[in-house]
Symmetry: C2
Subunit: 403 residues, 2 copies
Amino acid sequence: MAETRQRSKERPNYETFNPPKRILLGPGPSPVDQQVLTAMAAPVIGHLDPAFLQCMDDIKAMLRYAFDTENGMTLPISGTGSAGMEASIVNLVEPGDEVVACIGGYFGERMHEMAERAGAKTVPVRAEWGKSIDRAQIEDAIRSCKPKVVAIVSAETSTGVWQDLAGLGDLVHSQGALLVVDAVTALGTQPIHVDAMGIDVCFSCSQKGIGAPPGLSPITFSDRAMKAITGRQRKVQSWYLDVTTIQQYWGANRSYHHTAPISMNYALREALRLLCAEGMEPRWRRHELNSRAFVAAVDAMGLEMLVTPKDRLWGVNVVRVPESVDDAGVRSHLLDEASIEISGGLGPFKGRVWRIGLMGAGSTEQNVKLLVGALHKALAAQGFDRGPGLEAAEKVYAAAKAS
Amino acid sequence: MAETRQRSKERPNYETFNPPKRILLGPGPSPVDQQVLTAMAAPVIGHLDPAFLQCMDDIKAMLRYAFDTENGMTLPISGTGSAGMEASIVNLVEPGDEVVACIGGYFGERMHEMAERAGAKTVPVRAEWGKSIDRAQIEDAIRSCKPKVVAIVSAETSTGVWQDLAGLGDLVHSQGALLVVDAVTALGTQPIHVDAMGIDVCFSCSQKGIGAPPGLSPITFSDRAMKAITGRQRKVQSWYLDVTTIQQYWGANRSYHHTAPISMNYALREALRLLCAEGMEPRWRRHELNSRAFVAAVDAMGLEMLVTPKDRLWGVNVVRVPESVDDAGVRSHLLDEASIEISGGLGPFKGRVWRIGLMGAGSTEQNVKLLVGALHKALAAQGFDRGPGLEAAEKVYAAAKAS
């Protein structure tokens, strides 16, 4: 039996952690409904308990509704959105496969990097950060090689840019390739129709537009994608993310793969339940309205949106930091004075933009008004004051209510 | 902007999920203390919120205490224990590296499989399921090649076997290799001293002996391991599990890698807080005592333990299913009549053993007594009745209280 040695360290002594209450208006995590938090705190049961198997089936059914797909292989990966991104790449890609990687920001770069680490020969198609990726360039890249996969981000969280996917599935399939779409920020905030759009692998996260805490990554694979996976020459490089074996547990066999994160699945189920009760179309309209009201206030305050109107996300609203204003100073002011979290820019946008999320349970008229008032104060504290903005937002709401 | 299509599916309509209350005495998940469930349901904050950064630092400090290590690189991987296993392998192994994989059960096989998927040239050392792995065979394997890694499971959850690690670190290091230890079932149930045992990478899970729900995987890397990782020829094949970049977030830089599973980290922090308040040594003694009491009852009931006394785990107690008894019938009886979950065997042990976990908050005198009483009834219902067992367990507790 193992021996007991004298320990070198003192026993740490902590109090229970009491997080502050924040209004989460960054690009994620987004606010989580109290009903979801309560559901998550239910007693843990076993991952093969008949009751938990029913919970899994419910989640799969509701994910199919959220993704708008009939795909059998639709389930949550046991990791965050980035794990879902990696699962989408490593299940499809074998060393030497050609991958067209569309890159318009941080998350496009990440997907490209993952494809490289999986041994792909990549053909990157780049757009300037803040712009959508040119369809003709994507088409040229697809025709320049024999891609197995075309990977693209539908809602680029680092720039606030929406990428139009209409017709892309047909183009990709006409060249015998598979379409992989990052819907981490899109799902639950903006229209995604997996089957109708011809998406072969689509992944998202449990937070943002879905409304659970971060920790799981919903993913769906078309039959075309599954055929490619079962026809692989070599095993998927990741054991943890291999969907052919994960499916042995999430499918009819129920044979053990890894121990499911039980409580996170409770949370995801409850968040999806609330999403289904609201309905996807009303949810998209809610996100659109709150984004429009916020943008009206941005204009009225003399601030500028980064992205051209037709390419803007509804979930993540990206505002340029004015020349005279200190980015971090405004964010600290919001956090300290109003307990509101917004986020700065990534990479080339560091210090140059704010990323303001109005997603899931956080996309509300009340939050828009709180934010606009607090942002106006934070800017004024730095001597930037071109108007309050609140009235402009209210006009948008009034018009929506009247119509 | 994206178009809205007519949806093909009806909106699902569910009630909130109400899991049954179970007494979790399988090999995991184990019971979670109400304080941990409550901590997990606290409001979500941002992954870069100053308050969350403090939460992360607290977790790292308490994990160092739990692992008994001074390793700087000590943190929870954002996935279950299997993700921690994969992180330990893919960070160290490059294609062509030699790995000695010690295999005495299901989880040893899994680690071997992961090494193969990472491109390792593996040298497996196998023991019969239910027996510990012979040290001389391990030594022969290490000397037969030039291993970069020797991987071994300290507590094999599939068989209930403890693997003595004394002196193994010195042997492995004398050959210039790194020692990777699976402590998924060991940590918090049985003595693990990462530094004193010369372990280079040790991983566990958030559930079982730690007491949080499943979903995170505590891991620690020695400076020797980190030197090997930073000296790699090629990038780690997994972007999600690459500790050199994860450390950019968990270390002083605080630069974004992936969105941390906030609520799961709350749960892990609270479970570690309770573990620290109890102390590791008293916790091990508690697990040992409850295991001894249960084993005494097993003997009294005319059942047989699979593993020889010196190699037995305290956390997972593996009992042979008697010839005349139906494995699944007993488990269903326990679940239906007493709401107690125990587990069957894996692989070659399917239908042949029960795996009974007494771990974390589940390792209590009350649970042992409930289980013994219920197991006796379930066996009697199948005509197997060689005695009640409860008195034997009580004698062990009485003796412990008297001493």
